[in-house]
Amino acid sequence: MTELDAYEAQPGEIAGLGESPPEAEAGLPPPRVGRRALRRRSRRALAVWAIRLVAVAVVVGIWEWLGRRDGGVFVAPFSTTVRHLVDLWRNGSLGTAMWRSNEALLIGFPISAVVGLPLGFLLGRVRLADRGLSYFLDVALVIPMIAIVPVIIVALGLTLTARVVVVIAFALPIVALNARAAVRIVETHLIEMSGAFGASRLQVWRTVIVPSSFAPVFTGLRVGLAHAISGMIVIELTLIPAGLGGLIVQFRSEFAAGDLYAVTLMILIEGLVLVGAAHAIERLVADRLGKTDG
């Protein structure tokens, strides 16, 4: 274990940590669910959702209030922001910008997955490669990646390639490290057993390693997607005023608070929707895998 190796225990980043602890839902299914227990549970679900709604309403309310008090110069109220969002969407400038921004994501994220997953599997299984190379990934995860954006831009110019490379730089380390962690935690006794039954290497991979490492791998892809979106925005905000980041830079220099807030909100929404969708797919597949297993 090198010191950087200890990275594996960080919430929300690596494999499953940071999600709500599973024992809450999966651990203790009550043997017989009485009607009263059911009612208690649905009342609890109601309370949970009520608190969530209140929390969101409080945030939006404070935002609206600050905006009104400020007169919309520095803080555009929520209502104004939504109006500007609709306007920008209608006149097409937001759609164009989104498309331009997402080109980098659309190319960069699949490359991160296609390169990062095999890399992670390799590092998780081959000890020497792991010791020689994994610390680069640890370092990549720990440093402020934005600092290397200027270097990439000088090297590649103000091009789509530069934007794709930044997306990869943001997404690939987390994807690879999760894949590495995933094949590492496969229980060795299962592998040994399949070996004892004369399974070939390929069979071991197909029947043991891949199915049991699915969940952490997918978590890595989801977090990687979130990082990739950050990367896509970062480069546009710093030096290549293109796409959504370009709009932000422009609106900021024009002090067009409403438009600036609208584009920012759009970016946050995109993150929520894409990562939320990834989460939903992850759950769906995990459920199905769980069913075929049991």
Partner: protein
């Protein structure tokens, strides 16, 4: 000690290979974007001698203030969530969702509101570091083993003895883990804000160097930032490892 250092040979080998390839590429192919290792080193020395790194003190000050705010807010929030299962169930998914959005996008809004001031950077630090810290600390605070706390109660342990012998060993490693995560995120937030603002701290050095195409200086500053964040990470990891050993003893 020597033994231990020797066991790092694969890492040393790949690091040396990287520097070697860099130097050969820089001196043979001479791409304009890759300065030689020596020129970067001498540029770094010049910056250090000329006192350019003194701007790092403003960066560090902002980082310190931001972290302080994060730790205090994080303690309050995670305390609340760890106390109440209901609040935790309701709010943790929201925090998780918020973490899946690109926080960077908020920095221009902060700049619009607070201008090129310290406040902007402190807020950026907080926005990057707070939520990961809270999620980790909630897990930490809930980790006090119930059977042990019951036992200490039945043996009528004093409050102080209870905290020192049961609570601290149980939560210290995870608390430190959260703090480490917060520091990493805080550095990211700070550098992001400084680069987007472009006129203060280490970010200013980076932006100036890249605007003037001063490659050796750009590499020198970027490598300094990278080194600083790796060092702080390694130091905190060490503290965490020590805490876990103490907790197990």
């Amino acid at each position: 000690m020597g033994r231990r250092l020797l066991s790092f040979w694969p890492q040393a080998l790949t690091a040396a290979a990287l520097v070697g390839v860099w130097e050969i590429d820089a001196s043979v192919a001479k791409p304009y974007w890759l300065p030689s290792v020596q020129s970067v080193a001498s540029s770094w020395w010049q910056l250090a001698e000329g006192g350019a790194f003194r701007v790092a003190t403003t960066s560090l000050k902002t980082l310190g203030i931001g972290l302080l705010v994060v730790l205090v807010l994080g303690a309050v929030l995670s305390g609340l969530l760890a106390r109440s299962r209901l609040l935790d169930d309701a709010l943790s998914p929201l925090i998780n969702a918020a973490m899946s959005t690109p926080t960077v996008a908020l920095v221009p809004v902060f700049v619009l509101i607070w201008g090129y001031s310290d406040t902007t950077r402190v807020i950026a630090v907080v926005s990057f570091a707070l939520f990961p810290l809270v999620l980790q600390w909630v897990v930490a605070l809930r980790d006090v083993p119930a059977d042990l706390s019951e036992m200490s109660r039945s043996f009528a342990a004093s409050r102080r003895a209870y905290v020192r012998t049961i609570v601290l060993p149980a939560v210290a490693p995870l608390l430190l883990n959260g703090a480490r995560l917060a520091v990493v995120q805080a550095i990211k937030g700070l550098i992001t804000a400084e680069i987007i603002i472009g006129v203060v701290g280490m970010g200013k050095l980076i932006v100036t160097a890249s605007d003037t195409f001063d490659m050796p200086q750009l590499y020198a500053v970027v490598l300094t930032v990278i080194a600083a964040s790796v060092v702080s990470y390694v130091v905190l990891s060490g503290a965490e490892a020590r805490a876990s050993r103490w907790a197990e003893a």
